[in-house]
Amino acid sequence: MAAPLEVRDLRTTLFTRRGEMPAVDGLSLTVGAGETVALVGESGCGKSLSALSIMRLLPDPPARIVGGSVLLNGRDLVTLSEEAMLKIRGQEIGMVFQDPLSSLNPVATVERQIAEVLMAHTDLSRSQARRRALELLEQVGTPDAARRLDAYPHQLSGGMCQRVMIACAIACHPSVLIADEPTTALDVTVQAQVLGLLEHLQVDSGMAMIFITHDLGVVAEIADRVVVMYAGRKVEEAPVDDLFEAPLHPYTAGLIAATPVPGAQRAQRLADIPGMVPPLNALPTGCAFAPRCKRVMDVCWKEKPELTQPAPGRMVACFAAEKDAA
């Protein structure tokens, strides 16, 4: 069976007064049924923009998809009309956002939020939608779900709000779920619950999931494969265990080194990556990571490294890694 979601060479450019900025630059990504692919990188490296490009939710202007394709169950979303996209969003792709409280309508009850999604995509009546909303709330593990139906978002905890968001996202059984930092705004304990819930739902339904995060601990927990992004490009892709065991790209290695390990000596400082993600309108001509890279070589300043496949299932775009492999 073909993978539910296949992104090929996706390019999204921001057309602004300060020039054209390649926000997503040739991203390719395949997510199989029941598989979780984590999209990892620092702030501003194009993770969220990639997700919004897949959903075709970026405002045009300034953002426009200038190339590539997004195949959802064999259909190319990039060329679809806006009306057709309305049916796809929420129905075939669900999305969960970072801040659950601000992602819910402050003046609508939980029941209405879920029912709105159902009624936008199905022919359910109000009372049927209410019953279905209750089922969904129970499915996402809401204690005392019947009473929560009439609650407003501000009366719920962050974790509860995120459960409601997830209920909205899976209401129509999408084949792909995009979770954009769904646990970043939550307490660590609640975070674990929500991750458990997402995994559980995925096992039940066989959804494909893209999980966007900058937290490598979360990645280790939930992902099957990891795609590391930097400045709008994919720099490394690997199965999750291989990635943590032997990162090929110096950026990935830096990210892993910058993650605190419990039990490590306190005196030991966390290794940070010097510098910041370069602004998109001032990308260097060579590798975008070169100015921050410990293993930078002459060629890195002149040419952009292409993605290579050093081992089955692994990909990396780095001259230093190529040298290691040779």
Partner: protein, 279 residues
């Protein structure tokens, strides 16, 4: 519980409570007018220019033609309130639709609609109302439409501002990610959030509409078949030096009603504005 809280917050503003009670009295008068005074209030029923209290059957006296002023006031309440409410409804309907579309879509749609709104704002309101009424003819419906056309711009601007602030909020993006159409998002998701300040403004437009109608009727352009307060003031103005009560009684009615409507607007603002809630 929510509803109750709203009422409690409204009632905490004493002025608003008094205003609401007074308007309730006026509304009640308007409601029972055909029962209490079943004959046409514009019919001549007694001697002309009886002062209030002069004859027991006419507590507020009679006007220059011998018509019962109390009957005309009570029937006038009907016309005045209806015009106020419907004109405000028309203005709110136009204003909210225009403002919502302009604020939500932005870009050239916003530019165009706001320029049109400005065009309306440059014309002096009263002259605009009079012009429309003269062209369309002096009927209640036309006066309502005229006042609505003149009053929608401020509501449109307010609605637009609210939509501009709300449309980039995350929950709107979440709605779009769930595949809701623009119409569904505008009406079902953003509008309920934008409504509170708009309701306050609409209640003030009712007061404005009452004044507009009075002015139009005073100038003799009102519906000739309806005893509105403005018309009573206008009818009495030639006798202002001898029988001043003929103008003064409906004048007080207009003043009290408009004042009460403004008080209600203030109370609604207190009750609906979340920033003032904890004061």
């Amino acid at each position: 519980m929510e509803r109750f809280g709203f009422l409690a917050r409204f009632a905490r503003n004493r002025g608003a409570l008094a205003g609401a009670l007074m308007i309730l009295v006026v509304a009640l008068a308007a409601l029972v007018a055909p029962l209490a005074f079943p004959i046409d209030p514009l019919r001549i029923v007694g001697a002309p220019e009886l002062w209030p209290g002069e004859a027991p059957e006419f507590p507020l006296g009679t006007d220059s033609l011998g018509r019962d002023i109390l009957a005309m006031i009570v029937h006038g309440a009907r016309a005045t309130l209806l015009i106020g409410l419907f004109a405000s409804a028309v203005a709110t309907l136009i204003g909210v639709s225009a403002g919502a579309i302009a604020g939500y879509f932005g870009g050239w749609i916003d530019e165009t609609m706001m320029r049109v709104a400005e065009l309306f704002q440059t014309i002096p309101n009263l002259i605009f109302v009079l012009t429309i009424v003269m062209i369309l003819g002096s009927t209640l419906t036309n006066i309502v439409i005229a006042i609505g056309i003149v009053s929608w711009t401020s509501i449109a601007r307010l609605t637009r501002a609210e939509f501009l602030a709300l449309r980039d909020r995350e929950f709107v993006q979440a709605c779009r990610a769930m595949g809701m159409s623009n119409l569904r998002i505008i009406v079902g998701e953003i509008l309920p959030n934008a409504l509170p300040p708009v309701i306050v403004l609409s209640s003030l437009v009712v007061a404005g509409a009452v004044l507009f109608e009075s002015a139009v009727s005073f100038l003799g352009l009102g519906d000739p078949n309806v005893a509105s307060w403005g018309r009573l003031i206008g009818d009495g103005r030639q006798l202002i030096r001898s029988s001043w009560y003929i103008s003064a009684i409906p004048g007080v009615a207009v003043m009290v009603t408009v004042l009460c409507l403004n008080l209600i607007g203030d109370g609604l603002n207190d009750a609906l504005n979340p920033k003032l809630r904890d004061r």
